[in-house]
Amino acid sequence: MTQAMTGARMVVQALKDQGVEVVFGYPGGAVLPIYDEIFQQNDIRHILVRHEQGAIHMAEGYARSTGKVGVALVTSGPGATNAVTGLVDALMDSIPLVVLTGQVPTFMIGTDGFQEADTVGITRPCTKMNWLVKDTANLSSTIHQAFHVARSGRPGPVLIDIPKDVQFATSDYVVKEKIKTGHYQPKLKGDIDQITRLVEMIETAERPILYTGGGVINSGPAASQLLRELAEATGFPVTSTLMGLGAYPASGKNWLGMLGMHGLYEANLAMHGCDLMINIGARFDDRITGRLKDFSPNSRKAHIDIDASSINKVIRVDVPILGDVGHVLEDLLRIWKSRGRKVNKEGLAKWWAQINDWRAVKCLTYKNSTSIIKPQYALERLEALTKGMDRYITTEVGQHQMWAAQFLGFEDPNRWMTSGGLGTMGYGLPASIGVQIAHPEALVINVAGEASWLMNMQEMGTAMQFRAPVKQFILNNERLGMVRQWQELLHGERYSQSWSESLPDFVKLAEAFGCKGIKVSDPKDLDDAILEMIRYDGPVIFDCLVEKHENCFPMIPSGKPHNEMLLGDADTQGVIGAKGAVLV
């Protein structure tokens, strides 16, 4: 049974058929027919943003916190170009998005028409795939195909550019069941021989470590469950990248904390000293490896990843396993159990003793103060006062982001949304709104720096309009703190342009938006202020004045190996050599 309809109606129909409940968007001339269709239905909710970048980050927050595909709709030209940062952000962090852009009518393409931009050209390297649909007959099938591509394999953003005449023209709607998803069918099951080789290594390893990443989250909650089972059953220690936090619970006894540049001492030293590294859905990012030639020099390495291009990209591995984390862990556990659940108990006992010595260093120790709120203290209190709640955290980018990763504990996947790969300041506020739209009853907190927060603060209007009671927890150091820290360590304390001046009065700003503002500067008042924030039924801008020159430690300076980490009290002068200084 085929049904004829306009391209604009097809868009709405296809979104409904794909189970889309929410679209984040902003109208303009080239998408008016689609907005007309949105007006005439009630199944899909449209969240009107204040800037298209906000729409993409909201869709990202929505997607990451639900495991569904996030959807955004923007107009041609400036609408599309404003979306670009968000697209790259989603590409780097493997977030599934379908982004629809309007385009000038087909007969005007190439004429420098009003609000014409070469959207597919501009976004080609920013998307997993994109399409310009020139014929209404192909529109519905392209949209269904787009959802398949966005969510299959390594997830990512896709974009469909729809000229205005294609939206007006009529054609037959193709139902999603009729779509040939074609040759793009990433492999989910891992090679059994390789998995068996890994099982053999698991049975004998003396100093193993599970190095987990965003791929576990991408794979779905079942993968996190299997990871937990693997860790408990083998007794292997677990560390995670920034992107994988929550896959293994922070309260779990095998948890070593985050690894990497600002990761925990015990996690990094365990990575450096292990004899078997099992990478589960992580990509050996440079924040993790430090100096490549000294990276975990004495270990055999296995890597489970769904994307062949992630394997052997920067680090050579001994056991490459191409497949989905969930599927591979299931086979791995089955094979390991069937062979008698063996591990090297003596080796492990010694290994844990060593790890516990490293833990005893207590690398997150900081000097607290009774007069100034230390950012770490603010997060410790936030953690204590929100623990056990139905809580989601987003962040901006900077020191506050790293402290949040260090001091907040995540018990479940999909509870932590942060811009890891691109490091996009301005991500956290819109992302928090996207999360809140998906989880209206939950406590959604954006841990922010004042500078990042200003980058997309217009979205407070969106939060107000759609009654998204997001809490903006701003650790206000009046500095571009992370930049300032690098200048202190690398550029002779010449603080070039790294302070925040002429900051708005955040409490008055909150009033101007019609929400609640809270300002706190005395550690004694902090708990009450946090409780007030949590209890307030609506959006809150929480201005937490913190120590201005606090540094985030531990830190592995760029170009250094894991075992040359800086701890808080270290003399940090001249620690980064000339070679490291060129790295970012």
Binding site: V120, M129, N130, N312
Partner: protein, 186 residues
Amino acid sequence: MSPLNIKQGSTSHSAYDLRDPYAEVIEAHTLAVIVDNEPGVLARVIGLFSGRGYNIESLTVAETDHTGHLSRITIVTRGTPQIIAQIKAQLARIVPVHDVHDLTEEGPSVQRELALFKVAGKGEHRIEALRLAEIFRAHVVDSTLESFVFEMTGTPEKIDSFAELMRPLGLREIARTGVAALSRGL
């Protein structure tokens, strides 16, 4: 070209790969990439090379399967074994890419390129050019009193050497198609 003639179907990760994985030796590889013949696909492939800093020595493309709307892109690229492996993995993950063949690794292959040479000259030079063209099996496809256009098919190396010889004889212009390649046998 790879010093080893690795059997068809083996990959750089196979047990038959005896190369040092960390070797910094630069190899040239000929890749055949089968893609949907759709707008933007070539741009995606080329963008991958420029965006990630891989080099392209030669690139040819044309639709080879009209019913299936598939095109074959033949790319000659250079890099260490690790880079070549990465290029192939990066190509394979492009959604409209169906297949990536490394003709250099999959076994012996034939590589051919077509080139046109415009050579201007009179007297001795002209006769010498014609004589060399004959030896190289180049055809004259255009001639005036002062010039020839030669057409030649061959390996890129053969075309290079013919060009070298023509240079002192009045070579004015060369047009080359880039390499087309197929594996030998079945």
